[in-house]
Symmetry: C2
Subunit: 335 residues, 2 copies
């Protein structure tokens, strides 16, 4: 696989904006997830008290830096791409770990760490024996991301902007996304959004429809999120609707691969079989990493999709939401 010639500018490939948080990943039974009143596979926002309560009940954990858009930009860097990240952590032990992991992944991360206010956000993730993940998010200081944290120079420094739908749960962060997308458009950059979660789409349905129609160039969604956005369980109808709404849509179908929708065409992307399926946390984030890296580097859409499948297969084969093997090497880009 040869990479297209890079453009002769100083831009990074992707600028991500999202809720910065450390994942605490523990194995759990289906009975535990159900007993806690959780919907398997979804994300629930929790407060400090509930975070303590649930943590006390959970099994032993592994901690890893996470956050949807942050996982994606770390994936872009693993492909050998360049990236920057906008998100908020605190000046505490987990915030230090988080900043280290971003920079050690090769991602520029300049947002000042908060010295007052809530602690660094945490996502308590329960992984059931089917490798499905159920997330419980204590946003902490990540919820204080605000328009002022979005610097024009950072957005303009990227070929592509990538925002996560989870940000829409907080009013300040919502305004930060809109600001970032407006800055991107003014600078001639494309804006990408991931819908993140079916419940998130349901909570903000009308606003997401408006955002997607008016500000988003590239949309990532799984089939359930697509169904929620367009109010139809019919995949073909959803594809037609999203195709009319955005220039490029990537619809993930879990183990069945994905569909890339552009210019009236639907390209079927085959899944890549992972060595094993251990923990699906980060699958969508890494799929987006492959596609965005491919787009930023000028690969054709089928190859962008293949890179997405490859990155998703790598991340679900182990615990943790970010690649543990060089995606660049896996993709054969060094050959």
């Amino acid at each position: 696989m040869t990479e297209p010639a890079a453009e002769a500018d100083q831009l990074v490939d992707v600028v991500g904006v999202g809720n910065a948080m450390v994942d605490v990943i523990a194995q759990a039974t289906d009975a535990f997830v159900a007993g806690q009143g959780l919907t398997k596979g979804s994300m629930t926002l929790i407060d400090t008290d509930r975070a303590h309560e649930l943590y006390d009940l959970m099994g032993p954990g592994i901690e890893a830096s996470g956050g949807s858009a942050a996982n994606t930009v770390a994936g872009v860097a693993s492909f050998g791409g360049t990236a920057a990240y906008i998100g908020k952590v605190s000046e505490d032990a987990l915030g230090e770990v988080y900043a280290h992991d971003m920079r050690a992944s090769g991602v520029r991360f300049d947002v000042a760490r908060a010295t007052t206010g809530p602690a660094t956000g945490r996502c308590l993730i329960l992984v059931t024996p089917d490798a499905q993940r159920t997330m419980n998010t204590y946003l902490g200081v990540s919820s204080l991301l605000e328009p002022d944290d979005v610097e024009a120079s950072t957005v303009e420094s990227g070929r592509l902007l990538f925002c996560e739908g989870y940000l829409w749960d907080i009013d300040l962060a919502k305004r930060a996304i809109v600001k970032a997308m407006d800055l991107a458009r003014a600078a001639g950059r494309r804006s990408a959004l991931t819908l993140s979660d079916t419940f998130c789409v349901d909570r903000h349905h009308a606003e997401f429809r408006d955002l997607v129609s008016n500000r988003v160039d590239i949309l990532f969604a799984n089939e359930n999120e697509l169904a929620a956005l367009y109010g139809t369980d019919d995949l073909e109808a959803g594809i037609a609707a999203v195709g009319a709404d955005v220039a490029l849509a990537c619809v993930t179908l879990g183990p069945r691969g994905s569909l890339v929708v552009a210019n009236g065409d639907v390209i079927e992307i085959a899944p890549i079989e992972p060595m094993q399926v251990v923990d699906t946390t980060g699958a969508g984030d890494q799929y987006a990493a492959g596609v965005l890296f491919g787009l930023a580097r000028g690969f054709d859409l089928a190859e962008c999709g293949r890179l997405g499948s490859l990155a998703a297969a790598e991340v679900i084969s182990h615990i943790g939401p970010r690649p543990m093997t060089s995606l660049r090497t896996l993709a054969g880009l060094d050959r």
Copy 2:
């Protein structure tokens, strides 16, 4: 596999004493390890400044509760055994994580967390492509473990006492081990020791010889540690020497399995092939968990060794020093 009938007492199977610390595990190249002046596979003690320096240079990490003896008692609990742990963490974020993980593993952990003094200890672990781990230990508050932390009632509450050789690097902790072993003997309990590291044996050679001869009933060592202890590269000579020194010795041979030496007999224990070899951190600790659980529950020595091989195979198949699958289920003890 049927388990022998449990003894009708209220004892826990194993009481572990060790340096409590959180592992920060990152992948690294051989060139990075060599460039940092480290000996691959060994443990180096580092101070705060060096910990910061090395952390800044390391790749992105995964955090997991570790500490040799703590990993072992967590393994005992994963076999369905009962255990308690004596080790020191601070009242900080990592100390909270540590205490949670011990209790969530089913291990009793009552030692008061320090509210002043150094932070919770950290072990910066570099995992090279051959799955070998090179450890850099910032002891932090774990180094303040002292004889007063070893309560007679805790030692007496266990069928077996298990101490890690790493403790011998600190004078206070050394006295804590001696106190624990003396309490164990007075209560009619057996004391086990793991030699931990070749350099650790070299640093305290004469004292280890004395400790092993006079206070240790069960010794765990790999072949290099055995060679260092008895000053011979000849495995047979080492086996003969250790057989004369302790009632039971378990000598691990890496991928070649292990030898259980007792009453003039040497039992060869076959290795168990792991699904994959990802990170050898914790292999020795989990081997000890299998053997100690087996001994506490009255299995014969060959079966104790098999449980050790099984636990080691599980832990090297993934990142992190503690089991991620129920060892009880893997061992077929529920059938």
